[in-house]
């Protein structure tokens, strides 16, 4: 990729960041909602860890931190969907995608850049305040080592790419399905359940726990959280996330190629 094209994608990302930054009231409302849900969850987790201290290998303050991380990352990582995929599906449905395919930019990279821009805004705009609220009013376990924070940010970036890659595949299903409602619902279910949003994956019992931890969604919330909480080694974590990212992005390319041929067959 040349300097020119990387500049293009940087501009796309910056544009998406600015676009989301204009929804000020919606962002404030989202901050409020995440804080309320964080409050409800944190009390539930405290009761749970009261009953079983060290459940899933976390102590109470780690469990509390986990809750507020989930609320902070919920919008940024589009854990239950709600990013670019609705727009892309709409463009596929209306046929406007044909115009996108003629642009001198790569479709997948274009949307990846836009989604990372959105993600960065949501992290700052919707994530920081609920997390700060949680850290102020509840006992949290945060590392002092700046290297751990850096590793967390890397895990977060990789998680955002995995999240994008999954949603890109879901959006491309629009080429075959007339109605994307079912796929978006599936995305919501897997995102909430398999990312550890409803309950940390290390609390899941036995074989079910092993399965969900091996799935790509664990890269979204569980793994970055474990890196921050000092429960996972950064390098193997990055490797796991990167393997899923590459595999899913490659799958996205294959499906995109198949889908593009379909557009031509339809005659545009």
């Amino acid at each position: 990729m040349g300097v020119g094209s990387s500049r293009l994608y940087a501009a796309v990302a910056a544009g998406a960041f600015r676009r989301y930054a204009t929804y000020r009231v919606a962002t404030a409302a989202g901050v409020f909602t995440n804080t309320v849900f964080g409050l409800i969850l944190v009390y539930t987790y405290l009761a749970l860890w009261d009953e079983r201290p060290h459940l899933g290998g976390y102590d109470q303050s780690q469990a509390v931190t986990y809750v507020w991380l989930g609320q902070a990352l919920f919008a940024a990582l589009a854990i239950q969907g709600g990013g670019f995929e609705n727009e892309l599906m709409e463009r596929i449905r209306t046929g406007e995608i044909a115009i996108d395919l003629y642009r001198p930019a790569d479709l997948q990279l274009w949307w990846l850049a836009a989604d990372l821009g959105r993600s960065a805004f949501q992290l700052l705009g919707r994530g920081v305040i609920p997390f700060a609220f949680g850290a102020f009013f509840f006992p949290v376990a945060l590392p002092d080592d700046p290297l751990v924070w850096l590793a967390f940010l890397v895990a977060l970036l990789l998680g955002a790419v995995v999240s994008f890659a999954v949603r890109y595949l879901v959006a491309l299903s629009g080429f075959w399905l007339l109605d994307g409602t079912g796929m978006l619902q599936l995305l919501m279910i897997t995102g909430l359940f398999c990312s550890g949003m409803t309950l940390p994956l290390n609390v899941f019992p036995g074989g079910l726990g092993d399965v969900v931890r091996a799935l790509p969604w664990s890269a979204l919330l569980q793994l970055p959280a474990d890196v921050l909480l000092g429960e996972a080694d950064p390098l193997p974590t990055f490797a796991f996330q990167a393997v899923w990212a590459v595999a899913l992005l490659a799958a996205g390319r294959l499906v995109q190629a198949a889908a593009t041929r379909r557009v031509v067959v339809q005659g545009g």
Binding site: A26, T33, L48, E51, Q185, F193, L199, P205
Partner: protein
Amino acid sequence: MVAEGLRAYRLIAGMWIRSTMAYRASFAMTVLGNLLVTALDFVAILLMFSRVDSLGGYSLPEVALLYGLSVTSFGFADLVVGSAGRLGTRVRDGTLDTLLVRPAPVLAQASADRFAPRRFARMVQGALVLGYALVAVDIDWSVPKTLLLPVTLVSGAAIFCALFVVGAAFQFVAQDAAEVQAAFTYGGTTLLQYPPTVFGKDLVRAVTFVLPLAFVNWLPVSYLLGRPYPLGLPEWVAFAPPLVAVGCCALAGAAWRAGLRSYRSTGS
């Protein structure tokens, strides 16, 4: 006025039901999907109970009773007036004006708008858990207790309906703050799925005296199970839900009228 509203509601909802039923397979899929999405909440509770025997001193059947009452009455309210939550969009894009010029109450129109029969799913899921709870829970049934159960369900549904209407009225003022409404409605039903003993005193006080959610299930269930009441309230409050519901509905009606009066069209 009320009869007129009900008639308008029936006509509009009927129209949306017919339009939904035109695509039966798609309808069946979205119902199934919604059933799965809403069931996840309870699966999370089941997973918790796979690791602990009680939560906040409540056993699984007891939590299921709280869950069943909260979700069933919430599901009913969401089905009946949930659509009014989209009011902010209508205020923003000016399509609310079309509702104003029609000779039918605006609230009835806004609630029946895009009436989605798939929302039955949440109610059904709540009722299934409630059924399980009633079989599994250990209650010393008496005449007042038996009567209290249906009364609680109806009152809870009315309280949630009032909450939805207040939320819709709020969107006249804050047009793109639909998420604030979600924090109270969805947040409220999530909160009530767990025992009051889990939460901090101030939070319990707030949802008893300010936002009277405690009357949806916490207080009646305390009576049914013969448990100490939250905040040491007197025993008769378990029978107060109908009164609270009437009060909430009256307040919601006033809020709705105030909101509607404050509405200034976009002029487009």
